[in-house]
């Protein structure tokens, strides 16, 4: 399994956990970003994600390398789902293996912030009233 992947398939935590596990690691942090039923209080029916997949996977890999250099963590894997997601489904999954937990917690928070800034993936809110909107675009 690829460590950095954009996929239309349902995301599974266990294979990512296996990718980052290491006998020298005292911590594995798994983070799931999940499709929420509202945005700023407005009711969401479902979400749709679109990616520039080739570039998004490169950018995820680059962020993984930067996180390793910056936080001294061990292995990193990041999968992002695209296509239609129902409420409660996982949109992004990050796994980090680390000698100690503190670095892994810091790295996962940083990675999520960076993903929202630089990785070419877009979220479309399909509102409960039937209209739709690409987040951050007009």
């Amino acid at each position: 399994m690829q460590a950095f992947l954009v996929t239309e398939s349902v995301l599974q935590a266990e294979p990512l956990r296996a990718l980052v596990a290491d006998a020298g690691h005292g911590a594995i942090v798994l983070f799931e970003g999940v499709a929420r039923n509202n945005f700023g209080g407005r009711a969401t029916a479902f979400l749709e994600y679109e990616a520039y997949p080739e570039m998004a996977e490169q950018q995820l890999a680059l962020l993984g390398q930067q996180a390793q250099a910056q936080f001294g963590i061990g292995k990193v894997a990041i999968h992002h789902r695209v296509g239609v997601l129902q409420i409660g489904e996982t949109a992004v999954l990050i796994a980090i293996g680390s000698a100690h937990r503190g670095a892994a917690f810091a790295a996962v928070a940083w990675l999520m912030d960076q993903i929202k800034l630089v990785v070419p993936i877009w979220k479309c809110e399909h509102w409960a009233d039937g209209s739709q909107e690409w987040v951050g675009q007009r």
Partner: protein
């Protein structure tokens, strides 16, 4: 020279297609390509974009080469 321009999300929907092949002068820049897109499709929202050539972020004055893939990247919202 011919290059490919890719469009995503709201831009793709506004254009109603995900890519265009366009002919540009040698040594054209991202800005030149953007001007051509604006002329061909005056109603496209071309503000607030980032640009990538062959899957690497580049500035507006970056130079294009034949067969390059230029991506117009609206504000991202993954995660």
């Amino acid at each position: 020279m011919i290059i490919t321009i890719r469009f995503f999300a709201g831009l793709r929907e506004a254009l109603n297609q995900s890519s265009l092949s366009v002919e540009l002068a040698e040594d054209a820049t991202v800005e030149t390509a953007l001007q051509l897109v604006a002329e061909l499709h005056p109603n496209l929202p071309l503000t607030g974009l980032a640009y990538a050539i062959n899957r690497q972020y580049v500035p507006l004055d970056a130079t294009l080469k034949p067969n390059d893939e230029l991506a117009l990247i609206p504000p991202v919202s993954g995660g």
